[in-house]
């Protein structure tokens, strides 16, 4: 569904992405992991068209995304730090987003709005929200349009245990519907029962991309967090 071929991006001297090749197809739940500053968010932002890669191309359903924008109607994106216009209320924001994407005749998915109880604080201003509530709004917006692809950048960071459990269940539910889900996270224990594939990045390089069974076999560990830890030490040793 999403294919990147040889994309590279430099910020000044820093190489954020170095010749990344990645294949994602629907039904997969892919975890993007790696140390801070390894290029995960840059990769996600390139797929969204927020960042224009220096070279290489990204295909969405076989179509090149440069100079295209319609493909984004099939993506629900939850940013790492949701930044919203300060003097808008939650209600305004939801209304505006619905209004902007109204022409897509899809059923709205209000499940997260209800289970996060955002309905009860529709007239709160975005500037007065706590970080966690802001995350809830971001999550609700990402799932709202029933998109075929969900891109979640650190989805559970800042959420309380109850909310992150709700979100996890929602992710599993959407995965079973055959959607493609891309997650970046540091909390590996959380990903255990979610993901089917692991992509490990370091310093802008894609170190490996495997299914979770292969990874566990490869490292002879049963826990994902231990398997990845082993992998990271291996990668450091190889340097």
């Amino acid at each position: 569904m999403i294919q990147t071929s040889n994309i590279s991006k430099k910020f000044g001297k820093l190489i954020a992405l170095n010749q990344i090749n990645l294949q994602c197809s629907s039904g997969q739940c892919i975890a993007l992991i790696g140390p801070n500053g390894s290029g995960k968010t840059t990769l996600i932002k390139s797929i969204l068209g927020l960042i224009v890669p220096d070279s290489g191309e990204i295909l969405f359903n076989g179509k090149n995304i440069s100079n295209d924008w319609k493909y984004r109607s099939q993506i629900g994106y939850m940013p790492q730090i949701g930044r919203y216009p300060d003097n808008m209320t939650i209600g305004h924001l939801l209304k505006m987003m619905k209004d902007i994407r109204k022409h897509e005749s899809i059923e709205l998915d209000l499940e997260l709005i209800n289970s996060f109880q955002l309905n009860t604080m529709l007239d709160k201003r975005m500037s007065n929200l706590s970080g966690g509530t802001r995350q809830k709004v971001s999550a609700a917006l990402a799932f709202l349009f029933n998109s075929q692809v969900l891109i979640l950048d650190e989805p559970t960071a800042g959420l309380d245990p109850l909310a992150s459990e709700i979100l996890k269940e929602k992710i599993i539910k959407e995965k079973q519907k055959g959607k493609l889900i891309l997650i970046t996270s540091h909390v590996l224990s959380e990903l255990d029962d979610l993901v089917t594939q692991i992509v490990y990045m370091q310093d802008g390089n894609l170190i490996f991309h495997n299914s979770i069974e292969e990874l566990k076999l490869h490292t002879s560990e049963t826990k994902l967090s231990k398997a990845v830890a082993k992998l990271m030490t291996q990668a450091q040793r190889n340097e």
């Binding site: 924008w69 216009p85 902007i100």
Partner: protein, 255 residues
């Protein structure tokens, strides 16, 4: 696209600055006209005030607004909307609300006290100036991510157009006083939208005699219908060029 413009305008109007700007403009206009018993004199004082305040407020407000709506732009960019649409909606929203403020603040008093072609001309020039400086502000703010730098650059541009440019011209005129510069002055004046508006309105006021021989040459050129349309198109170009440049940069920007 229309929806986006609607949301931008709602957002700007919720911001009290534009309202304050409208009120200040109308206080200035009404007081200028009631201070002077000769409306032509009043018009002249108003002209100088407008050429000073309108560009300043338009450029500073738009630059700050652009930086403050970076969250809004980011949010929209991950939605299925063209970058061009987002940028043009931002421009249209700013241009409409600042022109509206000018129309209410200066347009109404002008039509009350001076319902002549000159008054009308001043309204058109003021609106165009507002829009031109919105476009220049968009260009200044797209160039750098740093808010302080962007606003500083905007203020510099305003200083250039209202003060420094005139100083440079005076310098040139004195340096080349022995040469006939009148025709070249017409072209040079096209490089500054503020000067261009001033000339168009001054010629309407029939005080061009005060500007000496250059004024006569100006009158010969800008006084004709052709010259007037050239001047108006020059002002429109002053909107389009910065807008296109900013759009070009914005389309390729990493966010």
């Amino acid at each position: 696209m229309n929806k986006l413009i609607k949301y931008v305008i709602i957002d700007i109007l919720r911001n009290k600055i534009v309202l304050a700007y409208t009120i200040i403009l109308s206080i200035i206009s009404f007081s200028v006209f009631s201070l002077e018993d000769n409306t032509a004199k009043g018009l002249l004082s108003l002209l100088n005030l407008i050429l000073f305040i309108v560009p300043l407020v338009s450029i500073i407000f738009s630059t700050i607004y652009c930086y403050n709506s970076s969250e809004f732009i980011e949010l929209l960019l991950s939605q299925p909307i063209q970058r061009k649409q987002i940028w043009l909606s931002l421009f249209a929203g700013l241009a409409v609300s600042l022109s509206l403020a000018f129309l209410l603040g200066v347009g109404i008093p002008l039509l009350c006290f001076e319902p002549t072609p000159t008054g009308l001309m001043m309204i058109i020039a003021g609106c165009l100036l507002s829009i031109i400086f919105v476009a220049i502000a968009l260009f200044a703010s797209v160039l750098t991510r740093d808010k302080a730098k962007g606003i500083g650059f905007a203020i510099l541009l305003w200083l250039y157009f209202t003060l420094i440019f005139d100083g440079l011209i005076l310098f040139l005129l004195f340096q080349f006083a022995d040469y006939p510069l009148e025709k070249i002055m017409i072209i040079i004046s096209g490089f500054n939208p503020v000067d261009l508006s001033r000339i168009i309105i001054l010629l309407q006021l029939d005080v061009s005699a005060l500007m000496g021989y250059t004024g006569a040459v100006f009158k010969d050129f800008f006084g004709t219908n052709l010259g007037f349309f050239v001047a108006l198109s020059a002002l429109v170009i002053w909107v389009l060029v910065p807008l296109q440049l900013s759009l070009y940069v914005f389309k390729r920007k990493d966010l």
